[in-house]
Symmetry: C2
Subunit: 69 residues, 2 copies
């Protein structure tokens, strides 16, 4: 079962931030796609909820130093 979620993330300010979020979330098993929109602070994620939980995805973003609001 594929889920699509959009998270509001604070603190992403540049291309390095985009890479750190996209790469860290993107390599989670069960994440199909992750796209950061820098200007809006939104992160679109497509994931398989039987493989990875939204909680783990949020923790991964938090671990990179960003706040989910």
């Amino acid at each position: 079962m594929v889920n699509q979620v959009t998270l509001n993330v604070q603190g992403m300010s540049c291309g390095h931030c985009v890479s750190s979020v996209e790469n860290s979330v993107g390599k989670l098993d069960g994440v199909n796609e992750v796209k950061v929109h820098l200007e809006s602070g939104k992160v679109d994620i497509s994931f398989e909820e039987d493989k990875v939980s939204l909680e783990v995805i949020k923790e991964t973003i938090d671990d990179q130093g960003y706040d989910i609001v």
Copy 2:
């Protein structure tokens, strides 16, 4: 002969940017010290002018995607 210069650099917005500038400049042969001040956009650099030119240092920062003003 050791020189000390402070450059005004635009576009550094986060800790990743600090690292990219400090690491790229810091590994140039002849650069003794480099310190980024994120809030002010200033970069203090101590370098040996017989080993590395200011021009090369500026190009290195530019190559990381930042503008020297």
